[in-house]
Amino acid sequence: MTDVRAPQNASFRPSMLIYDRRYRSLTFQVIVFVLVMALAWWLVNNTIQNLAAMGKTFNFGFLWQRAGYDIPQTPIPYTSDDTHFRAAVVGLLNTLIVSVLGCIAATVLGIVAGVARLSKNWLIARLMTVYVEAFRNMPLLLWILIVFAIFTEVMPPPNAFRGDDPSASMILFDHVALTNRYTAIPTLAMTNDPGSLDLGARITFNWATLAFAAVLIGGWLARRAINRWAQDVQDRTGVRPTTWWMSLAVMTVPSLLLIWYFGLHLVAPELRGFNFTGGLNVQNGLVALWLALTLYTGAFIAEIVRAGILAVSRGQSEAAFALGLRPRRTMSLVILPQALRVIIPPLISQYLNLTKNSSLAIAVGYMDIRGTLGGTTLNQTGRELEAILLMMGVYLTLSLIISAGMNVFNARVKLKER
């Protein structure tokens, strides 16, 4: 057998580094490596020189100094005597609160708007098109500013709710008051408070919260077990037992029992003096940011949902009908799993976008991590380098966690290919 390859014993010449495919990629990578290292060295060297010239050091010790500023809305106890680190954690929690609330609401809104845009109803489809195009083609900052201005300029001050004939009234059966300073919403209260679990560092968890979490997770697991059992019975006998009432029971009854046991009830805000008390006074910055993020991201999610549904070919639903599946089961067994496969990856990036866009809290004065660590802390300590690097690290970690979590979910629903 003749060997047609080039003779291997040719001596090495320098030009082979470029012309020989065996060495070329290596050469190129070495050059890139040297260049990147040189760039990194240059940047670090400059930074060291600049820091020295300014008489600054690079350390994160400032995080344990007294912060000395107040944060209007704190999910964990915080006073101005606490450290910058705790302020940063409060900021991070505020970022997470608005992001999670925004993701949930935007998903709901997006699904509704996306389905409505495909509706046979001409008017609804047009209205949703207007909504989607308006929000997709104007800057998010504009919507944040407009929603915030509606709250601060149009809503009445708290004292307008006062008197026998007030000029403003509460909405949702006297449970929510929209004022120009905050939105008063009801809180949950318990007549039979089980006390709290102390996690140290003045962070506490109410036992009732933990009990509800446990019951919900347990209910979900039980429902899975019931479905497995039903599948098992169906596989053996060909008849699927009716399970919806069992699922409903395991999902709701324990929670209802807990509500009854703890005496959980809503406490509506009440006007006392100049302000609402009793309920929770949510800063308008948070409400405006949340609404604007929801409306904006909802428009993008609507397009994703629409594209996902359109991506499932008509033949799929026709085939399902031909097999005798009813419309509901066609939707849940045939259309949705295929549409989800198309929907989920872009949906993940919308969640990531929403989380990152929550940093626009700067426009409404809501103290998220950009407002605490990257804002007041930075200004007070003058540690730009450390504060911004740390803040970027936090956002990066959040993004990686979200995309990792959603990728796991995506791996479960995506088309199983060989």
Partner: protein, 484 residues
């Protein structure tokens, strides 16, 4: 019916009936209403809900829009006119603020006597874009260029441009029209030169700066030609190294010396005078023009076989995509002073453009990577089978198809980036949305005006972004090669 005979049937019609009109409920508007709005109980409820929403919006905002005032000096003046015309307590929109502050919204704090310069740059931008965007039909090019010529020259005259520059603009615009009638690809030369020209028109100063920047590639080409006879390897290295050395070491001095010799300076305008839509469009256009090539390079790097190149691309893309643009803008405004050699001063708009470009390029890379992945493997194999090397295969076979697939994603990245230019307000630049509206409200005459500036700026952004998305749809249709 077998026992029925013709004789027993009392009546048989022997003539054709004239075709009857369809029943009223199956024709015209009634049928359309029935099918599209009231096809069932659920749909009827939805329709009523839709009408309620429209009614809510109209009833709340109609009087406000109907009572618009376009001519007034201040908000108080506006309110007085509204009260006089429509009675006490009437609401109305005060668009007079847009009329009065139009220049500020468009040009920011740019010197009034130099307004013609950004206008000319904007007009010439369309000439530069013509061979790229409107290469398909001579008719579209003619419309675009004639409109551009007329509008640019008119606006420059109104803004008091010197006759020399008016003549320059006229020559370029009419010349472009003539060239585009014959060979539109020749206009690409202008497109390549335009960035330097645009920078010079906007910021002013000596023309020798851009010329010396342009000398870099020219010197590189000369070095390549000189050395390519001796050793191709040395020629390639020289073609890359010579321009960089020129820019770093000699370009600045050469520009200064040339300026001292022959002055080609026009009045310089500092970056802090930029604002409004001038700023947004400058950042947006620069970011769009630079992020696409950078995004392509990053996408190719991420799909590369070379481990190091691939890892660097992954790290870069994921890092940029993982942090908000605001954080990157803060890096531009606060941290670059740390990263650059001591004493370096560096224009803030340029820093912002770099950050916005990097940000958009990371997203662009992911979009293009999607297009590359969607391309059937057979295309890559066919390119290999034809014996094309990597760059030829990418340029002739892979990228044209991959970019075509990614057009919707690329354009939505552009749109997102253009919308994000409003965030520069947080590093102290005067974007049209927040900083400019705050500045307008800071004056006593327009204190307390919120909705009109927001609606105006939003409408302009909507026009530009909606236009871009429509253009991408047109481009998709034009480039479609499948027969569906």
């Amino acid at each position: 019916m077998s026992d029925t005979h013709a004789q027993t049937v009392p009546f048989v019609r022997e003539t054709m009936l004239p075709p009857a009109d369809p029943p009223l409920r199956e024709a015209g508007a009634v049928r359309w209403l029935r099918e599209n709005l009231f096809s069932g109980p659920a749909n009827t409820v939805l329709t009523i809900l839709g009408f309620l929403i429209i009614w809510f919006l109209v009833s709340h905002f109609w009087d406000w829009i109907a009572h618009s005032v376009w001519n007034a000096d201040s908000l108080a003046d506006c309110r007085r006119i509204i009260a006089e015309t429509w009675g006490e307590g009437a609401r109305g929109a005060c668009w007079a603020v847009i009329r009065e502050r139009w220049n500020q919204y468009v040009f920011g704090f740019y010197p009034v006597e130099l307004y013609w310069r950004p206008t000319m740059a904007f007009g010439l931008l369309f000439v530069a874009l013509t061979p790229v965007l409107f290469s398909a039909s001579v008719m579209i090019r003619r419309i675009v260029l004639v409109l551009t010529t007329v509008l640019t020259l008119w606006a420059m005259t109104v803004l008091g441009a010197p006759a020399v520059w008016l003549a320059f603009a006229a020559v370029v615009l009419v010349g472009a029209l003539a060239v585009s009638e014959r060979r539109v690809s020749w206009l690409l030369v202008f497109s390549i030169l335009y960035p330097l020209m645009g920078v010079w028109f906007l910021w002013g100063g000596s023309a020798w700066g851009p010329v010396m920047v342009l000398m870099g590639p020219v010197l590189g080409w000369i070095a390549w030609r000189l050395l390519s006879g001796l050793s191709p390897m040395a020629a390639a290295v020289a073609a890359l190294v010579v321009p960089v050395l020129w820019w770093l070491l000699y370009a600045g001095t050469a520009a200064r010396d040339a300026e001292a010799l022959v002055s080609l300076a026009i009045p310089a305008v500092a970056s802090d005078r930029f604002g409004g839509f001038l700023l947004s469009i400058t950042i947006g256009v620069a970011g769009i023009a630079m992020s696409l090539p950078l995004g392509i390079v990053l996408a190719l790097a991420r799909r590369s076989d070379m481990f190091l190149v691939k890892s660097l691309a992954v790290i870069f893309i994921e890092f940029i995509r993982g942090v908000p643009l605001i954080a990157l803008l803060f890096v531009a405004s606060l941290l670059l002073n740390y990263f650059l050699p001591p004493g370096t001063t560096f224009d803030i708009i340029l820093r912002v453009i770099i950050m916005v470009t990097l940000f958009a390029a990371a997203y662009m890379a992911e979009v293009i990577r999607g297009g590359l992945a969607a391309l059937p493997k057979g295309q890559y194999e066919a390119a290999d089978a034809l014996g094309l090397d990597y760059w030829k295969a990418q340029r002739l076979i892979v990228l044209p198809q991959a970019l075509k697939i990614s057009i919707p994603g690329i354009v939505s990245t552009f749109i997102g980036m253009f919308k994000d230019t409003t965030l520069v307000t947080f590093v102290g630049l005067y974007d049209p949305l927040k900083s400019m509206s705050d500045a307008v409200r800071a004056s006593t005459s327009w204190k307390g005006i919120y909705w009109e500036p927001y609606i105006f700026v939003g409408a302009i952004f909507f026009l530009i972004c909606f236009g871009m998305s429509r253009y991408s749809m047109y481009l998709e249709r034009r480039l479609a090669r499948d027969h569906r």
